[in-house]
Symmetry: D2
């Protein structure tokens, strides 16, 4: 498939989805995006800016949700215009799909909604690439059914059915904890979809702080390295200049000043792994 | 709280939510409902007829989804008129809440959507009792946040905030399997909400059959007995005259001809447990 | 099978294994055993006194382990002589099996050692009944292999191969937590062995306190009721006059002054369930 | 610490533990060891030959267990003499520790026995390096207690207390499945012990074949790469010339003819990761 003007095929170099969890303000989004754009240029990597206009499933109803769809899309449009970065955001209801698709380069679906047939179909029918997150309650192999729903909807709308990324973001492991099963990356690749590893939400501790989710950002680099060594197409990492003050998901955000060094390391690992794709039958069909 | 004209308080006798998973046809719904109404009369138990008008999150996009909202609500209305049973159905989008609430006695929310703030608020704002299912990916204690969202929305709409049931339906346990943690029933009871045990979906094997979910209906009676012995307010059990031919979730449906004997046994256990509520501090606040 | 002079067959009334986790002193063991003997007489229940002479797998090497095998067996012998209760203790190495079997009525094997072939064989070869604990890392169905090892060893030693109880004590569920899968009781019953539910260790939080295991004794009654409602042959519950001062596993011990009320409740539930054994095919072969 | 004449400290190059699961015969062990020795020379890697003389915890009592301790140690001694490779084997009872330590370069403890205090102490007291496997039922942080037991025993016997490797081999995840939590590698490294990743048993499906354990050897390379990218000190991989005919654990053995290409790839990843140890605070204390 094509992603933001770049071909994605077996052996394509690693791409990155990054940004602050939620749009905190226009100024904040632009400031972070500008630093990410510089890093992308220096590291010569495809980087897609991610930020949410609404957090529709916060643990607590009292937490910050974001600027809303209109203001959020306006800010994302400005981010792209000013930084040149392609932009991605997540959709929360079928009715939002078309309007969001007019603005962003890539759509994303929340993990909790992976089994909602009409929702997946609506997003797929826009014709935009979609990063489909595996639910925490699903086995990797079961994502084949979700991909089939998406491909059917895309085809029915006259679009390319090979337009979907699958994203691992952790699997339920006891209570208030997720675990990243690296085998799942290879299993999801059997669908033919490029696979993305979300290193941020994989270290989330859902509900772990009582009225909000905890996180273990210290493990983000470690899990990102592991996934890249497995051979993923892309990594997803939320980053923030000051995680302790982030309005959402701060406990699992990577500090922005550690971002570039990690990207450099991931690129080096990616080059090693993709130099020898034939050693791993399970990923060779990707 | 009041449920279908009956008070629900500590020590109230067990109630039952039962019916075929999905509305297969008017005739089928009526036939099952009539048999359930007879059993309810003979066993002197509050029984609420449950059936879905739409299965919005089937594993596969090719599976039967139901008659749709208009036809489904028409049939549920007829079931109530002809059998005298109160009726319950599940809602799948915020926009459906008001229209469904005009017809049914109790609303229900899907487990996968337990964290969707706007959805929970919309359903709660109708003023109808809601059976809120705990998500497979949530710890029992985290349902307190969901209850807070629901109560806030009910209060804001001018309704009684004590109008919610919490329903356990299994927790993710490895891949394609759920486990029923009986401790969770007591933990959810700490919210002050009556707790329901869904013995049907607790034996589901999500995605376990490749393009549909498997199930272990042989364990339904066993888990229902266990939950009643813990002290739940109600049990939820899908039942079908011929599970092998059911259009949805047959593998975990209880055969209708085994239903009455099980109800009789559960009633006897319920009487034993509720005769001595003081022995269990963790359920005493319910 | 016969257990301490009582037949164990489908429908036999519930028996109980109870006592303090570890032998703290002769006086302590005798005091607890006398109170348990009175309760057993009043409630007309078969009660087997359990206490360990050595805790061979404490989280920390610095914790109290017990009086050792010689002194421990001496005390157990005295408990039986003075109270009339049959006694049970756990064995930790194959070399201990024969000597322990000379003193106690029932042997028990630690869950962690369920897969050690020579150990299971040595204990089984004594000819004494053995309560074999399912490992936290094993599926219930896999206990069939353990039973086969035990039966082979008993037969080879010229003893009755139907001399084994299987005991559920919780399954690993994420980190530092166990979950009790009530389905497992029925699955283990398919071996033909009477099934015991250990309500004490099922609420253990292994390693949960850093250098020792935590526990949730508030859930012991609840899980015991659930298991009895499933239809188990026996329950295992550690009890202590003052759990906060117990030398081992205090956090999950049932306070001794709550013991009799719980036994009475369990007996009432047991009577309900065993009055209708035919409703549950999966337990009928027991 | 020193391992077979090589220093192990932060940044030391990856070492490898490899060999067939069980000693099948002298000729078989020698043939495999000779091929491994050639690979080790060509790839310039420290390789320790591993094979078991007894499989003391097979799922079924009817499976092959090995040649026994005397014959097994004789063969391991010959392997070392003829190939120059250091050798490692696992111990199953405290009473075996001293005699095994006289022959092998490194001892190993079975995962199931990680909590047996006397056993860990006996092995640690030999003064030989020990590869201590984390139990499937333990959280990574809880291995700190096991290390403390081992260090205490080594010190008490007059040996260096810094003589232990910690080995991850998968954690219980539902029934009959293990998952490899890559965070655990960093958490275990906080003990100061070099960490080994066992890529073979991490893909085991315990009990998954009814009377024996299944496995997913296709995921061995993938998980080994992930662990090396995290930054482990060593990897453990069982290998066999013809896994389908292996007498134990064939389903998760890496075919011997794929071994060298994988080692080459792991070495390249190891060089990338260890070139920048400072990027990862959680492993920097190792």
């Amino acid at each position: 498939m094509q992603l933001c003007g770049h071909p994605l095929e077996p052996g394509s170099p690693l791409f990155v989805i990054a940004g602050p969890c939620v749009i905190e303000s226009e100024a904040h989004s632009l400031a972070v995006a500008e630093r990410l754009a510089e890093i992308a240029r220096r590291q010569d990597v495809l980087l897609i800016f991610k930020s949410s206009f609404d957090k529709a499933n916060r643990s607590s109803g009292a937490s910050y949700r974001g600027p809303g769809i209109d203001e959020g899309l306006r800010i994302l449009e400005k981010v792209r215009a000013e930084t040149g970065l392609p932009v991605l955001t997540d959709v929360h209801e079928a009715s939002q799909a078309a309007v969001v698709a007019q603005v962003v380069d890539v759509l994303q679906t929340p993990a909790f909604l992976a089994r909602q047939t009409d929702f997946i179909a609506a997003v797929a029918a826009t014709g935009k690439p979609v990063n489909i997150k595996k639910a925490q309650f699903m086995a990797p192999a079961d994502m084949a059914n979700v991909v089939a729903k998406a491909r059917d909807a895309a085809s029915a709308a006259g679009h390319d059915p090979d337009n979907f990324l699958l994203c691992e973001r952790g699997t339920s492991f006891g209570y208030n904890t997720l675990v990243s099963d690296m085998r799942g990356l290879a299993i999801m690749a059997r669908t033919g979809c490029p696979v993305v590893f979300d290193a941020t939400h994989s270290v989330q501790q859902p509900g772990g702080l009582g009225t909000s989710s905890g996180g273990q950002s210290e493990f983000v680099p470690l899990l990102a390295r592991a996934a890249v060594a497995v051979g993923v197409a892309g990594v997803f990492m939320e980053t923030h200049p000051d995680p302790a003050k982030a309005l959402s998901d701060g406990p699992n955000a990577l500090p922005l000043d550690r971002f570039e060094a990690l990207i450099a390391q991931l690129k080096a690992l990616d080059a090693v792994v993709k130099a020898a794709p034939g050693t791993d039958a399970e990923l060779s069909g990707r």
